[in-house]
Amino acid sequence: MKAQLKSGFSWMLEWRLATIRNGMKDAIAYRGDFIVGLVGSAVVPVAIQLMLWNAVFKNNPESLFGGMSRSQLLAYTWTSLLFTQIRGGDYDFGLIEMIRTGTLSNYMLRPVGVVEFIFYQGIGEKLLTAGVCMCLGLVATFFTPMAVTNLILAILLAILGNIIHYLFGAALASVAFYWENAFAVLMVKNMVVSLLCGEVIPLTLVPEKWTFIWKSLPFYLYVFGPSQVALGIWDHRMWAIQMGIGCSWVLVFWILLKLSWGFSTKRYQGIGG
């Protein structure tokens, strides 16, 4: 009995690790694409923010905007960049494509949970990205007041954010079992998330009466939260609280995911010969 349990546990761990490793290998099968994707996707958001803050502070460099000085906003812009790369993933788009074209069949017959399997494949790439971001962040600690501990804790929070993001996206992707083509749902979700996660602007700039919106959703844990931790604005106690909140969201979305996929896979048609 004990041996059986041990073997069961070692299998549970082994297939997950093997899937993550495979995801990593898949991600860097084309090194050029991986590097361009990592660096290139950061250029436009950073350029927009830098232009925006320069325009805002042009006439009065010493003023405060949303309670933040120019240097604080610039520090946020550069720091948030690390976590913007870790969030995302968008494997939910892949799920919809698989449901639509019937390629989900390949995964449904494996002896492991299909959504979980696809997540581990996708997180492989994000863990690599997190590793690169960690290295970049460590370099930054030599030139900025950012503490190494804060950086590590912030990256952990960002990874938790990635898990929440996937669970939420995958639950939404189950709409494709009903509509077949549900990319628009995910695009709308991504636009909302982009605004409310803090990658476009720091959420401290949101008017006071609207703050309840981002505070009552988990998206701020993707970029804004980790940036606050990395910059030392949130202390370690606050980090622990946010990790707790994040874990609660994981539980909520995990239940939502189980329910939505439990019901909707009955409608799967496995289209295509």
Partner: protein
């Protein structure tokens, strides 16, 4: 089909029906607008009450024209979709429950869909499958060596899947599907697009695997060489119903045979067809040898056509042979 009573049943299908509902779109812009505001649905019955049993270890061919319902049936048996009504049981389990135990014991290969990871070498994909199916490393290594050498792909294990030829990729797909030694294997057109040599190699491999491991295999294919070489039993489906279930030989012997004729003269195929009223094909045209013609003829009227040929042509040699499976199936499709 008779079988020893001791052989356990691996697959049992009872009155399985399956229908699909889809949107009906009328032609043109008007049709598109109508679809937007008032969609109309059509129900297509893919399976109309299919029943059969397959004993463990049997290699069965599932044949039928495009759209006959073969792939739908495989999807039901593998647990991808449920039947609309009726029951299906594989290894005593309900496929659609898709329990882990069930998924560990079955496998499906779809000739038109890649299941391995496109950008990774096959060896990486196989190693992941080893972890997924809990295959002990030593067993995995030995099994992989055996399978890759049987299919002659050992040297290609470190090549990206997408860089392999269609035949090589299909061999890798088959290895990936049987690495965990499933008890039931569904093969959906595994030789599609393969050249003669690759098809032959794959068929030989499947035959050996079936004999050695005793896996129950259902094969769908439009290539009658696959069916006649591998399957001891065929289930012929037409428009969602089973038309024939039995040995291939019984089907070919049913009501048609072929007259194999050598003539001293060399009439054209159309002249011969016109003179006899039978479909004719030429099978050899060696310069030193008279052409051999094959005339498909109803079994009950063989003597009559013999006389007709002898009366109209100078016959060098004449004999009877069974109609090919391909010819018989073709005739059934056309009816």
């Amino acid at each position: 089909m008779t079988r020893p009573a001791a052989t356990p049943t691996a697959i049992e299908v009872r009155d399985v029906k399956r229908s699909f509902k889809s949107v009906k779109k009328e032609e043109g812009f008007r049709g598109t607008m109508k679809l937007l505001f008032h969609p109309e649905y059509v129900v297509h019955e893919a399976l109309k009450g299919v029943s059969f049993q397959i004993p463990a270890g049997e290699f069965t061919g599932l044949i039928g024209a495009n759209g006959a319902g073969k792939t739908t049936l495989l999807k039901i048996l593998s647990g991808l979709i449920p039947p609309t009504s009726g029951t299906a049981s594989v290894l005593g389990m309900n496929p659609f429950e898709r329990t882990i135990e069930f998924r560990k014991q079955i496998s499906i290969v779809m000739g038109q869909k890649a299941q391995l990871w496109w950008d990774l070498p096959a060896i990486e994909a196989f190693d992941l499958l080893r972890a997924l199916y809990q295959i002990p490393r030593g067993v995995y290594r030995a099994r992989l060596d055996e399978l890759t050498s049987l299919l002659d792909v050992t040297k290609l294990l470190n090549t990206q899947i997408r860089r392999l030829s269609l035949g090589e990729r299909m061999k890798m797909e088959v290895i990936g599907a049987i690495l965990h030694l499933p008890k039931v294997i569904f093969l959906d057109e595994p030789t599609i697009g393969l050249d003669v040599l690759a098809s032959q190699k794959l068929r030989h491999f499947l035959k050996i695997h079936n004999q050695k491991e005793g896996a129950t295999i259902i094969l769908t294919s439009h290539n009658m060489d696959d069916i006649s070489e591998l399957c001891r039993r065929i289930i012929l489906i037409k428009e969602g119903t089973v038309l024939y279930d039995g040995e291939p030989d019984t089907l070919t012997r049913q009501d048609e045979c072929q007259l194999r004729v050598k003539l001293h003269t060399e009439p054209t195929l159309s002249e011969l067809a016109l003179a006899t009223g039978l479909p004719v094909e030429a099978v050899s045209s060696d310069d030193d040898d008279p052409t051999t013609y094959l005339l498909t003829c109803p079994r009950s009227r063989v003597a009559e056509y013999f006389q007709k040929l002898i009366a109209k042509f100078q016959v060098a040699d004449i004999g009877i042979q069974e109609a090919s499976l391909e010819r018989v199936i073709q005739r059934i499709y056309q009816q």
